[in-house]
């Protein structure tokens, strides 16, 4: 009975935290958007309002700010997201989740690829017998960490489109060369970051008592490392909570160049067109996803390293 009560209180506290977070982030985003003379739609370059009184935009502009604040919040919570100003046929409730699922797929695959690649690079940089190769790998890690998307994305796009013009012509985001190029592109900075973290951790870990013990017991290096996999992943686990939200909103530029209909490209298109409902909903999804993934990362960290002692 006591355990059930404890669980209920715990879940209740999580929901309360989530709700407070939702209200505060909504308020900040709402008022930032309205900082531009009361409404982000006051730009004369936005679009011609031929029938201003009949249009949905005019209806939003004319409402007083407090009523607009409450109504929009209510609509957001009850999934009554309405439509875009430029497309009144497709409802955003169906349109945005599609984009979100593409973003999530890219994020999850990118995290897996980054973790595997970084482990591979860091292990070579530490355990390879040839010194020149170890130094080369360290230089390579620093080099890929210095490659921003703003440079590497156009370069890769130009190079690949030269040898594979179909990447420009295709409208599908799941076209394999396009998909895998994007994944590698997005995972590069995170691979460098994770590899650096594992490398720093492993530099001290060569004197590990446990590793020495396992090696002395006759296990091979790979078997010993497999036994210590949780310890190996421990330095990354605390950064995954930061990396996943950054990934969710951080590859807007790559989405823009490779024409991927994910959340970032929709968001930037909406910002350029002052499409108020989309801006609000995408920003809210970004901020809520940060809360959710930070919590999940803490949970993951606790599972990997129980000494952390953080509960969900």
């Amino acid at each position: 009975m006591q355990r059930i009560t404890h669980q209920i209180v715990r879940i209740g506290s999580i929901f309360l935290q989530f709700f407070i977070y939702l209200v505060v982030s909504y308020s900040v985003i709402f008022f930032i958007m309205h900082a531009a003379d009361g409404s982000p739609l006051n730009n004369e370059n936005t679009m011609p309002l031929t029938h201003a009184h009949d249009s949905s935009i005019a209806r939003i502009i004319e409402k007083p700010l407090p009523i607009l604040y409450i109504n929009t919040f209510k609509n957001f919570i009850f999934f009554n997201w309405g439509t875009s100003f430029f497309n009144s046929i497709d409802s955003l409730v169906y349109y945005i989740p599609q984009a979100l699922s593409i973003t999530l797929l890219f994020t999850v695959v990118t995290v897996i690829v980054s973790v595997l690649l970084s482990l591979f690079l860091a292990l070579i940089a530490i355990f390879h017998p040839k010194k020149w190769l170890r130094s080369l790998i360290i230089l390579f890690i620093i080099f890929i960490g210095s490659l921003p998307h703003v440079i590497i994305a156009p370069i890769l796009f130009i190079l690949i489109s030269r040898y594979m013009p179909s990447i420009i012509l295709t409208s599908s985001w799941f076209y394999p060369p396009k998909f895998f190029t994007t994944i590698i592109l997005i995972s590069l900075p995170y691979t460098a970051l994770f590899a650096k973290l594992i490398y720093i951790d492993l530099k001290e870990a060569t004197q590990w008592f446990h590793l020495k013990q396992l090696l002395a017991m006759g296990f091979s290096l790979s078997q010993s490392l497999w036994c210590l996999r949780n310890r190996l992943l421990s330095p990354i686990s605390r950064y995954i909570g930061i990396a996943i939200p950054q990934l969710l909103s951080g590859f807007i530029l790559v989405e823009d160049i490779f024409r991927i209909p994910a959340l970032g490209s929709i968001s930037i298109e909406a910002i350029n067109r002052r499409d108020y409902p989309i801006i609000l909903i995408t920003s809210m999804i970004f901020s809520l996803s940060i809360w959710i993934f930070t919590r999940l990362a803490l949970f993951l960290q606790q599972k990997i390293d129980p000494r952390v002692g953080v509960s969900l």
Partner: protein, 266 residues
């Protein structure tokens, strides 16, 4: 690395910076007599070639580097001062208030930079100011959070406990303990974030939300050269190479600043 080598390195960097600023006084938007799309050449001007309007590419590149560095460095300095002030004030406040301030800063941090930049641009119409505020808000929370954690760990030190038991004032604690401790520990961490600010500034300019013509920054230069990247590749690869070198240099400097500071104390 020896002390002399550090001084030599610092001298090279300062010469590079001052030289760039001096040379960038040439008008970057001035349309000269050069034919459009003149390739880079060593013997005569334009050394780095000319763009579609026949403008020399060299002063444009220099101005772009200087603008990006100026904006990022100014934002970094402002953020550092703001974070110092916030972290020290928060440490003297009751826990509820300090946690609320940190919570609000966190909310500001998680708002997508693009939304923030576009809304600020709409209200202020000043691109440089918008960019600086966006960069400040992107870095403020991580720095304040880190400084707050540092100050909390300092409270467990024996000298802090002794001072506390002797009944020192808040001002004395700030002046004698917190300020030097924070400065010493946070300068290398803050500087290591400098390349990130540079990348964020360039990305926003590349997406058309940051710096715009007639000013020029690295991101804008890359964006402008993108349509000619296949036909006149030097227009893209020269700023790209400069950008990568700059980032590499800054990352390297960021790695060696702690070692340099350690040597200074010794």
């Amino acid at each position: 690395m020896k002390k002399k080598q550090y001084y030599l390195l610092l001298m090279i960097i300062s010469i590079f910076m001052t030289g760039t600023i001096y040379l960038s006084s040439r008008m970057p938007n001035h349309i000269q007599k050069y034919t459009p799309f003149q390739s880079p050449q060593i013997r005569k001007l334009p050394i780095l070639g000319s763009d579609a309007l026949g403008r020399d590419y060299m002063p444009r590149l220099q101005t772009a580097i200087v603008t990006s560095l100026k904006i990022s460095f100014f934002s970094l300095t402002c953020t550092f001062i703001l974070s110092l002030a916030l972290a020290i004030s928060v440490s003297h406040m009751p826990t509820v208030i300090s946690q609320s301030i940190l919570y609000l800063l966190r909310i500001l941090f998680i708002i997508p930079s693009i939304l923030l930049a576009s809304s600020l641009l709409q209200s202020t119409k000043l691109r440089h100011l918008t960019m600086i505020i966006t960069l400040i808000l992107a870095l403020l929370y991580p720095l304040v959070h880190m400084m707050h954690a540092l100050l909390e760990s300092q409270k467990k030190e024996s000298y802090w406990l002794v001072s506390k038991s002797l009944g020192g004032s808040h001002w004395l604690f700030t002046k004698k303990h917190q300020f030097p401790y924070l400065l010493w520990h946070s300068i290398p961490i803050a500087f290591s974030r400098f390349p990130r600010l540079l990348v964020l500034e360039s990305t926003l300019s590349f997406l058309g939300i940051g710096i715009q013509e007639p000013s020029i920054s690295l991101g804008l230069l890359l964006q402008q050269s993108l349509p000619y990247a296949q036909s006149h590749s030097y227009l893209f690869y020269i700023p790209a190479f400069s950008f990568i070198s700059l980032l590499f240099l800054l990352q390297w400097l960021g790695l060696y600043i702690p070692a340099l500071m350690k040597q200074v104390t010794e």
